[in-house]
């Protein structure tokens, strides 16, 4: 890859064509490329900064407010409405409140694991967004193993959860951490295996290829001239539903919100966290919900695809993520949580078997078509 050109590049996968990734755009726009590797590095940081802030603005700033409003409308309430239109000013008040609180660190916590856990939980989800194509040219990196990378970094969160649970020195935290790990192990496998069935269709782990594969027309509605795109959710709805269910377990939301089940474990692994640490843990959870939404949007809902010009891609992509977020809040208001043993049973005896069946079936179909 680097052998063809004399200068080493940070974007080795793009072989001379038009710029695709955000860092490349930035390099070209700002003329940073004349500084060689250092310029590319700087451009990459700038790009990461932009993407990171965009994601944080959605999850950390808009998310909690939206969650309040969504839950309130399900539960027949009004929720925040005093500060600004629709109470949107509460975001500022919330931020000040949370950051200004005393950070209480109990005596017998196991440092530095206790301090690292919130960073691991939040950071692992942030990493995942690096390979997500968000449309409108916002795409940080596009490695060949994109999908595997997302699953891998999202899986790191389990370590953060068990760190938080164990290091807190609290029995509720410990139980919550153990539940989180049991749950993530049980549902990660169906999640990945179901994701693999998409890979079989697309023929690649690369995110951009997976998105491209969904741009074809599945069929045209006769008479209306509507081309229905070959989104994998439409091609293989069974896999879509499986993935959705496994994803709810993965992010720990109803009916699978075992790890923090407040009625049982107070707040599970986050019981002993306060102030900034709590914000990080909480943010991590939101990031994981949004990352789950981003993965679903990318591999099942055509990524940034939608009506209108390509420049609107980021809009469609954001809408799809919020759709998944909305669904989690809906389930939270409406569905009871299962018991931990029932959860494990559903995971190992139900979803795992179904996901392998789905994989086998997909492989057979793809084999026949190919």
């Amino acid at each position: 890859m680097s052998g063809a050109t004399a200068t080493p590049s940070l974007f080795p996968l793009q072989n001379g064509g038009d710029p695709v990734l955000l860092p490349e755009h930035i390099t070209e726009l700002t003329g940073l490329d004349q500084f060689g590797l250092a310029g590319e590095l700087l451009a990459t940081f700038v790009a990461a900064f932009i993407v990171g802030n965009f994601i944080l603005a959605m999850t950390g700033v808009a998310g909690p407010w939206a969650k309040r409003k969504i839950t309130a409308s399900f539960t027949d309430r009004i929720a925040v409405n005093h500060l600004g239109p629709g109470g949107i000013g509460i975001i500022i008040a919330d931020a000040v409140r949370l950051l200004a609180k005393e950070n209480i660190i109990p005596e017998n916590v196991d440092r530095p694991a206790y301090d690292l856990a919130p960073i691991v939980i939040a950071g692992s989800a942030m990493l995942g967004f690096a390979v997500i194509p968000m449309g409108s040219g916002i795409h940080l990196a596009d490695p060949e193993v994109g999908l595997a990378f997302v699953f891998a970094v999202a899986g790191i969160a389990s370590i953060g959860l068990v760190m938080a649970g164990y290091a807190s020195g609290n029995k509720y935290s410990l139980l919550g951490g153990l539940r989180a790990v049991a749950q993530n192990v049980a549902y990660e496998i169906p999640l990945v295996v179901t994701g693999m069935s998409v890979v079989l269709f697309a023929g690649s782990l690369q995110m951009s290829t997976i998105v491209d594969a969904q741009q074809q027309t599945l069929f045209t509605i006769p008479g209306l001239e509507w081309a229905v795109p070959a989104w994998f959710a439409l091609v293989n709805p069974f896999a879509f539903v499986l993935f959705l269910i496994a994803n709810f377990a993965e992010v720990g939301r109803n009916p699978f919100d075992m790890p923090e089940a407040p009625a049982e474990l107070i707040a599970g692994y986050q019981t002993e966290y306060s102030s900034v640490y709590f914000v990080l843990v909480y943010l991590g959870e939101f990031l994981h919900i949004f990352l789950g939404g981003a993965i679903i949007a990318t591999i099942f809902l055509g990524g940034p695809a939608g009506p209108g010009p390509d420049e609107l891609g980021i809009l469609w992509f954001t809408l799809k993520i919020w759709g998944v977020f909305f669904l989690t809040q809906w389930l939270r208001s409406a569905v009871p949580r299962v018991r931990i043993d029932q959860l494990i049973e559903i995971g190992w005896k139900g979803l795992l078997v179904l996901s392998f069946a789905n994989l086998g079936l997909t492989a057979a179909i793809v084999g026949v078509i190919a």
């Binding site: 839950t71 399900f74 539960t75 027949d76 309430r77 029995k171 509720y172 139980l175 109803n254 009916p255 919100d257 089940a261 407040p262 009625a263 049982e264 474990l265 107070i266 809040q329 939270r332 208001s333 409406a334 569905v335 009871p336 949580r337 299962v338 018991r339 931990i340 043993d341 029932q342």
Partner: protein
């Protein structure tokens, strides 16, 4: 576990309270009855402290008195006394009181715990507050007061002026460091006193084996407010009535007030005007609906999680009732609406508006109940969580003295509104709901169906009230300014509260204040059964079982 109900003894013993019944009891007890000490509600037999188990098991097995309703302890100048109030689940009007006197110097009496498991907590309370000691009791510790408390507050020689210091170091530290028992590989976990699912300040000491509950021990008393003693310091006529509102304080106020109203009206022989009884019946059933709504909502919180919509839905509907009750009584929670001999005032003017408002609520109720059935009981995940968890077999429920929806959910057909009628219930057309499931699901269904039955009762009350002739609307009987029942009169009376049998025992000492005022709280007895319901199940089931018991700590601790 012996049953003895609904068998021959019923036939042998004639009508409750009749001469033949008492004669049969006398012959059953034989030599063991050393004297008679009749109460207003029941024949009373004095027995020796060593015969308690013997007599109680005979009464249960031979005569069918299978419900140890309450244990009252008190101190006289010359003796301590434990009274076992016994009833039949099949016929609660058939009562008998077993009086066990002990000397002041050595107040030791045999424990009834081996015969009735419900006696466990009742005797602990008697020991804690009065100071009677029970031999053979498996675990005779203080129950309401801290372990380090000095003296017994309801005994004669107790010095109320003496300050009591309860230091944290002396008091058993609830934050125990022994996480882990290496031998059995279990973990000790404190659930509460501050925990989202304990419905108040309840502390459940739990031993876990993984996620499985190996042992449960509820630790109560955090909300003990000396209600019994406060009532003993108030006059019968006016000063006691406000207190019952504070026992089961979540919207069951009128039901509690009725418990006191009933006992004092029986004690002082007061006839309540029919019109007032209808208002009472209507108000009480409104409270029951509000209380069951809250039970349903908080149970949903325990099973669904804290963001469930169901909780807010039940509160929305409860709010309508709160408004109606506010119009009726002038208060939202602490109603203080009943008076000795009637109620405080007539329905609010304009009456038409009140009727319209209440009828509107009743008309909308079926749709709301349907909504709950769609949202909650019809949900498959809810069913997998609730069916066959928290199982309370009917015999066990009886043994623990469980009453109310908890007992009826286990198929125990026991409802004082029908079995020991008071108020206007007898003249109305309604049914007692029982369920055979004996699990969490059955208890939820039982409460929801009771809501519909209560609506039926209210509907009929409204019809009656609307047509009542204007010049006959007496809301109060003629009650003397001061009530002084004869010294030594004793009575135990119960009503069907929101959670079950809410009973009051009063002994008058000739003054205008009770000599002894004892509250039999349904939650207190029901909560005892938690251990039986949740051992061997998972933590989430323990939480659900606790929710389905629908306890209010204000009533447990009094």
């Amino acid at each position: 576990m012996s049953t003895g109900t609904e068998t021959e003894p019923e036939a042998e013993l004639a009508e409750p309270g009749s001469e033949t019944n008492e004669a049969a009891l006398e012959s059953l007890l034989g030599e063991r009855a050393i004297a008679r000490d009749d109460h207003l509600n029941a024949p009373g037999f004095v027995i020796n402290p060593n015969d308690v188990q013997d007599v109680l098991s005979d009464l249960r097995d031979e005569a069918g008195y299978d419900h140890l309703s309450c244990v009252t302890a008190q101190q006289y100048e010359d003796r301590y006394e434990s009274i076992y109030h016994m009833k039949k689940f099949a016929d609660p009007t058939d009562e008998v009181s077993i009086v066990v006197p002990t000397t002041v110097d050595d107040p030791v009496s045999q424990s009834a715990e081996p015969v009735f498991r419900t006696a466990d907590w009742h005797e602990r309370e008697a020991y804690d507050l009065v100071g009677v000691e029970y031999e053979d009791h498996p675990d005779l510790r203080r129950i309401l007061l801290p372990e380090t408390w000095q003296g017994h507050p309801l005994s004669k020689d107790y010095d109320q002026e003496k300050p009591q210091l309860v230091t944290l170091t002396e008091h058993q530290n609830p934050i125990q460091p022994d996480h882990h028992d290496a031998e059995s590989d279990t973990m000790f976990l404190n659930i509460g006193p501050h925990h989202p699912a304990t419905h108040g300040v309840l502390h459940v000491k739990t031993v876990l084996d993984g996620e499985t509950v190996a042992d449960v021990e509820p630790d109560i008393g955090y909300l003990h407010r000396c209600e019994e003693q406060m009532c003993e310091q108030g006059t019968y006529r006016h000063q006691i009535m406000p207190y019952p509102d504070r026992w089961d304080y979540v919207s069951a106020g009128l039901l509690n007030e009725w418990a006191y109203a009933r006992v004092i009206e029986d004690l002082a022989d007061i006839e309540v005007p029919e019109y007032a009884q209808i208002i009472r019946t209507m108000g009480a059933e409104l409270c029951r609906i509000a209380s069951h709504m809250l039970a349903l909502g908080t149970f949903a919180l325990d099973v669904y999680g804290e963001f469930t919509a169901t909780f807010m839905y039940t509160f929305r509907d409860r709010e309508v009732i709160q408004d109606i009750l506010e119009d009726l009584t002038g208060q939202r929670m602490m109603f203080n609406y009943f008076r000795v001999g009637g109620v405080a005032w007539d329905l609010p003017e304009p009456r038409e508006e009140f009727f319209e408002q209440t009828r509107e609520f009743l008309n909308e109720l079926p749709a709301k109940v349907g909504e709950y059935n769609d949202l909650i009981t019809g949900n498959e995940i809810f069913q997998t969580r609730c069916i066959d968890t928290g199982v309370l077999e009917p015999e066990v429920a009886k043994d623990y003295g469980c009453t109310g929806p908890v007992a009826r959910g286990s198929g125990v057909d026991y409802d004082l509104r029908r079995d020991d009628p008071y108020g206007y219930y007898e003249q109305l057309d309604w049914d007692v709901i029982t369920r055979d499931g004996a699990d969490n699901y059955a208890r939820v269904l039982c409460r929801m169906e009771e809501v519909e039955e209560s609506a039926k009762i209210i509907e009929q009350c409204l019809d009656l009230l609307e047509d009542w002739p204007e010049d006959e609307r007496d809301v109060q009987a003629n009650v003397p300014r001061t009530l002084k029942p004869d010294a030594g009169t004793e009575i135990y009376r119960a009503v069907e509260g929101a959670k079950g049998e809410l009973g009051i025992y009063i002994r008058s000492d000739g003054s205008d204040k009770p000599g002894r005022f004892k509250i039999r709280s349904p939650c207190f007895s029901n909560l005892q059964a938690l251990e039986e319901m949740s051992e061997g199940e998972y933590i989430p089931d323990l939480i659900a079982s606790l929710g389905s018991l629908d306890i209010v700590l204000g009533e447990v601790d009094r």
